[in-house]
Amino acid sequence: MSTIPAAHDTAHGHHDEGSYLTPRGPFLSTVVAWATTIDHKKIGVMYLVAVLTMFFLGGVAAMAVRAELWTPNRYVEQVQPDGTTQSVLQGDLLGKLFKADGLGAANNIYNRVFTLHGAIMVFMVIVPGVPASLGNFFLPIMLGAKDVAFPRLNLLSWYIYVTGSIFAVLSIILGGVDTGWTFYTPYSSTHAAGHWNVVFMILGAFILGFSSILTGLNFIVTTHKLRCPGMGWFDMPLFIWAIYSTSIIAVLATPVIGITLLLLIFERLFHVGIFDPAMGGDPVLFQHFFWFYSHPVVYVMILPGMGIISELIAVHCRKPIFGYRAVAFASLGIAAVSFIVWGHHMFASMGELASAVFSFLTFLVAIPTAVKVFNWIATLYKGSIAINTPMLYAMSFLFLFSIGGLTGLPLGALATDLHLHDSYFVVAHFHYVMMGGTIIAFVGGLHHWWPKMFGRMYNEKWAMLGCALVFIGFNVTFFTQFFLGTQGMPRRYASYVDEFQFLHQVSTVGSWFLLLGFLVHLGTFIHSLVAGPKAPPNPWGGLTLEWETESPPIEHNFHHEPILKHGPYDYDTTVPPHYDPADYPLDTTTPPHDSGH
C-alpha cells in the first residue's frame, strides 16, 4: 500500500510544488485545465461559482417580489382635471417595468417572477448548493482520500448542472413560467403561458436531477470505499454523515421526479392525458409523484446544513460533540422518515384516515431533528466558545432553524393546517428552514472553510457585520410573514387589502438589509482573495483531516496517505495539527473540561 504514494511521487513529483490553485501555464491553458479538470477541489470551486451565480439570479427575483409587494396591485378611481373619474392601475411596479397592459398582465408578471425565484432557489441553489460545492471539496479530504470515487463522473455532473441551468435561463429569457416551482397539473400541462418556456423549465429541472443522482452516487461510493486507514464509520466527521444521508435521499428520490417531469413534458407536448382530468387522467397523481420526490428533497436541502453546523459548533467551541452517534443516526433517521411524509402536502385531497396517518408521520421528523438541536446546544455548554463569523452563523442557525422547525408543527397538524395552509405562514415557515437553515449554514460553512479553500483569511469584523445584517434582515423580512399568514394573507398574490400593507412594507425593508448583508459578505470575500493575509493550515484548531494539509490543499490533497489516529472531535486528548494558539486565542482562565465529567 505504501508503494502507491511512492509511485505517484516519482511520476508527478513536480506537482507537489504549489496548491491546486497554482496556475500551470498561460491563461488560456489554465482555463482549459479548469474546464477539463477531474480534481474534486476544482470541481467544488466551479460548483460554488455556478451556485452563487444562480443564487444572485434568484436573489434578484426575490428583491423584485418584495419590491412589488410594497403596494398592492389594483385599480383606483381617480378624479381627472375635467371632473370625470377614471380607473387607474396602481402599485404594479413590475407591470410598469415590463410594460404590462392592465391588471391581469401585471399580476401575471408577478407570478412569473416568484416562480423564477422559487425554481432557481430550489432546483439550482439549495438542492445542489452545499453537497456539490463544499461537499465536493471537503468530502474526499475529510475522508483522507485523493479524490471522489469517480472523478470523471464528477466533472460530468457539473456539466449536467450547467446544462440544466442553461435550459432554465433559456426559459426565463423566453418570458419565464407562471406555474410556481411545483409545476402543478393541469395548469402546467395545459393553461400556463408560454408553451416552450414551460417545457424548457421542466426539462431544466429534469436534467438537474441527473446531476443530483450522479453526485449522490459518487459520494456514497466514496464514503464506503475511500476512507483512509484507521477511519471506521464512527470516526467520520459528522459533515460526512450528513452528506452521506443526503446522498442516499438524492439517489432514491430523484429518479421519481425524473419520470414525473418526463411524463409532464409528454403531457405538455403530446397531451397524453395521464395528468389531465378532462381525459380521465389524475392531476393529484402528479402531486403525489412530485412530493414523493420533493419532500425527501427538503431534507436533501437541510441535512448538509446540519452537517456543517455540527462541524462549526464542535470546532469553534473546542469540545467533543455531544452525542456523536445520536447526531449521526439522526441524519440517517431523518433520511428514512423523509420518504413517508409526502402526503402532508395534499391534506385537502386525501381521505381523513390518510391525512391523519401522514400528519402523525410528519411529527416523527421532529424527533431526530430535535435530537440534533439539543446535542448542539449541549456541545456549546461549557465549551470555549470563540465568537467569530462561523460561530455567529452556527448560533443564527440554531435560533432560526428552531423557529422554522417549530412552526412546521402547526402546519403538520390537520386542524391548524386548515387555517394556515397556502398562507404567508407557510412562506415564512419554509424560508426559516430553507434560508434560515440551509443558506445560513452554507454561508457559515463558507466562512469556516474559506481559509482552507482559497488560502486567505478574511476580515473578521466585516464578516461579522455582514452576518449581523443578514440575521437582522432575515428576521425582519420573514418574521412579519408569520403575522401576515395568521391574519389571512394568501401566498402567491400580487395584491392585498390595506390592512396588510404595513407588515408587507416592513418585510420589504427587511429584504434590503438582507441584500446589504450579502453584499458586505461579497465585498469581504473579494477583499480576502485580493488582499487577505495568507491563511495558516489550521486557523481554527480543527481536528478533522482537512486541517492537516496546507491551505489551500496541494493537488493530491495530502503529501502522504493519512492514517487516522484520533477521532474528529477528540479535543480532550489531542493537540490539533499545525496549530498555533496565537491564531485562536483561547480563554485560559478556566480549563474547558475540568468539571462536569
Binding site: T36, D39, H556
Partner: protein, 233 residues
C-alpha cells in the same frame, strides 16, 4: 488543448505495448488496488440500477392507479396487443441475457473469440427486439389510430378511457425501448474495446460486467412489463 497530467492519469507499464489491454490496465491512483476500484465501480453501478428501478417504479405506479380506475379500458386495450410478438420479444431478451452473462464468463476465462460471439448475439437480439417492437407492434397500431392521449383516433373503441391505456402503454414500452437502445450502445462499445484493445480479460472486465448488469435490468423490466401489459384478462 494542452493536456496537463494529473494524478488520475493511468500509467501503462512501460515497454509492453503488445500485451492485451486487460493486462496493461492500472487502477486509478486514488484507489488502493484494482480490486478496490472494481468493488467501487460495482457498488456505484448497483446504486445506478436502483435509480433505474425507481424511475420505472413511477410508471408502474401510474399503471396500477389507472388500471384500478379503468379496469375495462385496460382489458380492452390489452386485448388489442399481440401476445405472439410480445412473447417473441420476451424470448429474444431472455436469450440475450444468457449470452451477455456468458460473455462476462468468457472474459473471466480469457476466451476472447467466444466473448465476441456472445456479444454479437446479444446485439443481434437487441436489434431484433427493437425491429419487432417498431415494425410489428408500434407501426400497425399507430396506423390504426391506437395512439396515446389526444392523438387517439381509433373508431372502434369500446371504453372512453382507452387513450389513457395507450398513453401508459407507449410511455412504459417507449422508455423501456430507449433503455434497450442505450444498453445495446454500451455493449457495442464493449465489443469495440474488446476487438480493438483486447480490453477485457480475467483480471479486468469492469465495464463489461456493468454493461451486462444494465442489460439484465433492461431484461428484468420487460419481464414485468410483458405480463402487466399483454396478459390482462
Amino acid at each position: 488543448m494542452t493536456s496537463i497530467p494529473t494524478h488520475h492519469d493511468h500509467q501503462p507499464s512501460p515497454g509492453d505495448a503488445s500485451a492485451p489491454g486487460w493486462k496493461r490496465y492500472v487502477a486509478a491512483s486514488h484507489f488502493r488496488s484494482a480490486a478496490d476500484e472494481f468493488d467501487a465501480c460495482k457498488l456505484g453501478f448497483w446504486l445506478f440500477l436502483a435509480t433505474e428501478v425507481l424511475l420505472f417504479a413511477g410508471l408502474f405506479c401510474a399503471y396500477a392507479i389507472f388500471r384500478m380506475m379503468y379496469p375495462e379500458a385496460f382489458a380492452a386495450g390489452s386485448h388489442s396487443l399481440d401476445v405472439k410478438w410480445g412473447g417473441l420479444n420476451t424470448v429474444v431478451l431472455l436469450i440475450s441475457s444468457y449470452t451477455v452473462a456468458s460473455s462476462i464468463r468468457c472474459a473471466q476465462l480469457d476466451k476472447r473469440f467466444w466473448l465476441h460471439v456472445n456479444l454479437i448475439i446479444t446485439l443481434v437480439c437487441a436489434a431484433a427486439f427493437v425491429v419487432i417492437k417498431f415494425t410489428f407492434e408500434y407501426g400497425p397500431k399507430w396506423a390504426e389510430g391506437k395512439r396515446p392521449g389526444v392523438l387517439f383516433d381509433y373508431p372502434y373503441w369500446s371504453h372512453p378511457q382507452e387513450p389513457i391505456w395507450w398513453s401508459v402503454y407507449y410511455c412504459a414500452t417507449g422508455i423501456h425501448a430507449l433503455h434497450v437502445v442505450i444498453g445495446a450502445c454500451l455493449l457495442a462499445w464493449c465489443l469495440y474495446r474488446s476487438v480493438r484493445h483486447k480490453a477485457y480479460g480475467p483480471t479486468h472486465y469492469t465495464m463489461l460486467e456493468n454493461s451486462g448488469l444494465y442489460w439484465h435490468l433492461v431484461d428484468l423490466i420487460w419481464i414485468f412489463l410483458f405480463p402487466l401489459l399483454y396478459l390482462i384478462h
